[in-house]
């Protein structure tokens, strides 16, 4: 191991060091500002390490493949974690009395995601996934006064543990018949197998796919999503929805990238079916949902369905592979921005007794907290794919990638369900700007004045983060090249 290797691995070292420092500090000091500040500093240092590592040698170890795509997503994860720290600061201050473990777990979750984003081997895939999942169990169950949180965490734990076991068993089967655990060799290892070996290989890949599909909440592995989204604390769900899904999706993207389109026939069919089912089920179930958190859960199922369309397109046509990767990277970024902002608004509006979940509680929010209502509106419009928001550009890229691969059936469903989704997103926005004010929103108007100085400052930090997220959503919608150049450069590793 040389200095160059250490430089490439520096994001991991920085993240792990941050987690350890925050954990040790928690043992002696309970000052919330100190712990959150340490975490934020560590994450900022990690981001600097990502920038430095980008200029160096890319092969770190057999387990980690540090190409530009993985570095891009590690950077995205770190930014998401930073935003979550900003959102949690006020949220935890209002609902909890102990904070250190939360930030330790959050940093460890980001570390797990970063390992996933660069994993090139079953071992690193498994380790990254588990570090991420086990941190998330703790994070979801964190608010002690929220009985739903324990239930959500337990449901998530049981399903995640079962699917981790499936993933592991699948990996073991694939390894047993192919003798390799490197992701880029596994896809082609099935050729020439016969008898029980071919059956075991197929069963193994199916089990691995089930494990990955669960983490992404794709239909038919989506049942946990609404319950966990509803029960978990809003900032954590923002992290789960944005960071954990992005990290797992990169694995899918990176391991499918060497897939030969001609031999990928079955896989393309399976992925297409999953994409159809996720787009339809997610959007249909969200249509009449009265609970905003569950609505966002179903909407995220649909969004992941759109992303699978882009993956199918990247695998199906050799020439369009770059287009598919660009579409996935861009869409994951804007999806993360939009969901962070949406759950961030819920987190800012939460008080010690609970979070506003029912849509009726948002009646009149636009008159009482105009900035928050605007943030939520822009993020929902971006998820719906309205022009002038980043969501439109994202959907345009998915459409372009799909058209390049001639996936017309998927594109028709994609366009129809996107149009359908506008109905439930607009319903939320119209509710917020109704003239009559719900008691919940009415109580909000009086609270800022009654808040202590510390809480007002925390509230301002969260609102500033939300405004930044919204501003970048709008900027990317109007002038996408800012990000696009970076992504296109990163995606060129697959050409």
């Amino acid at each position: 191991m040389s200095d160059a290797h250490l430089l490439v691995l520096s994001p991991y070292i920085a993240l792990a060091a941050t987690a350890v420092v925050v954990m040790l500090t928690t043992a002696f000091y309970h000052r919330h500002l100190l712990l959150a500040g340490l975490t934020a500093t560590g994450l900022a240092a990690t981001f600097a390490c990502v920038l430095v590592a980008g200029a160096e040698d890319r092969r770190a170890t057999a387990l980690l493949r540090m190409n530009d795509v993985s570095l891009y997503f590690i950077g995205l994860l770190v930014v998401v974690a930073l935003a979550v720290v900003a959102l949690s600061y006020g949220y935890l201050g209002r609902t909890e009395r102990r904070f250190g473990d939360f930030y330790t777990l959050l940093t460890l979750g980001a570390l797990g995601g970063a390992v996933l984003a660069a994993s090139a081997h079953f071992a690193s895939l498994f380790l990254g996934l588990e570090v991420l999942s086990v941190s998330l169990y703790g994070l979801i169950a964190y608010p002690r006064r929220r009985p739903q949180a324990v239930e959500a965490a337990f449901k998530y734990l049981v399903l995640a543990a079962v699917t981790s076991a499936m993933l592991l068993f699948g990996m073991a089967l694939v390894y047993a018949v192919s003798g390799t655990m490197l992701l880029d060799k596994v896809a082609s290892a099935g050729a020439g197998l016969a008898g029980w070996e071919a059956a075991a290989y197929k069963a193994g890949l199916a089990l691995v796919f089930a494990g990955v599909g669960f983490k992404l909440a794709l239909v038919p592995f989506h049942m946990w999503t609404p319950d966990v989204y509803q029960g978990g604390p809003a900032p954590v769900i923002a992290f789960l929805a944005a960071a954990s899904k992005a990290a797992v999706f990169v694995v899918l993207l990176q391991s499918l990238a060497p897939l030969d389109p001609q031999r990928g026939g079955v896989l393309v069919v399976v992925l297409s079916v999953v994409a159809y089912a996720s787009m339809l089920a997610g959007n249909l179930l969200a249509l009449f949902q009265q609970n905003l958190k569950r609505l966002l859960a179903y909407s995220s199922i649909a969004q992941l369905g759109y992303l699978v369309v882009a993956v199918v397109s990247s695998g199906a046509a050799g020439g369009a592979r770059g287009a598919g990767t660009v579409a996935v990277a861009f869409y994951l970024t804007i999806y993360a921005l939009a969901l962070l902002a949406a759950f961030g608004v819920i987190a800012v509006l939460a008080h010690a007794e609970g979070e506003p979940e029912a849509l009726s509680q948002y009646r009149g929010l636009g008159h009482r907290r105009p900035a928050l209502a605007l943030v939520l509106s822009v993020s929902l419009l971006s998820l719906a794919g309205m022009p002038l928001t980043a969501g439109f550009i994202g959907k345009f890229f998915i459409f372009r990638a799909g058209a390049g691969a001639a996936q017309w059936g998927l594109l028709v469903v994609f366009a129809l369900t996107s149009a359908m989704s506008l109905y439930y997103y607009l319903r939320v926005i119209i509710t917020m700007y109704r003239l009559e004010v719900a008691p919940y929103a009415a109580a909000l108007a009086t609270s800022p004045g009654g808040m202590s100085a510390g809480r007002r400052a925390a509230d301002r930090v969260a609102v500033a983060a939300l405004v930044l997220l919204t501003a970048s959503t709008l900027l990317l919608g109007v002038y996408p090249p800012v990000l696009l150049r970076l992504i296109e450069h990163a995606a060129s590793v697959f050409r």
Partner: protein, 102 residues
């Protein structure tokens, strides 16, 4: 040394895995659900050992050590959650956890 045919070991692992899965689906007590998950995870570990033995590589055993560590971490969190569920809801039956729904 007469080694066991890895197919038998994989078969045993498969049977254990299915038993664990059935346990998760059928048992309603939280502790038994966690124990069934443990059986599934360890079945995967056994499959890794068999696969490693087939290729004469240490990778399978390395994965098994990872799996042991991960199973311990998972069950630690699981039992902590079971304690909190017991204290708050006064039950260990998974069917009683139904606050979250449409």
């Amino acid at each position: 040394m007469s080694a066991v045919d890895p197919v038998y070991a994989l078969g045993l692992a498969g049977v254990l895995f299915v038993l664990g899965l059935l346990g998760v689906l059928v048992r309603r007590n939280i502790i038994f659900v966690l124990a069934s998950i443990e059986i599934m995870v360890n079945a995967a570990g056994l499959a890794f050992l068999a696969a490693g033995a087939r290729w004469g590589q240490a990778d399978g055993q390395v994965m098994f050590v990872f799996i042991l560590a991960m199973a311990a971490a998972e069950v630690a969190v699981g039992l902590a959650l079971a304690l909190r569920i017991r204290r708050r809801f006064n039950t260990l039956d998974v069917d009683d956890l139904r606050k979250l729904k449409d």
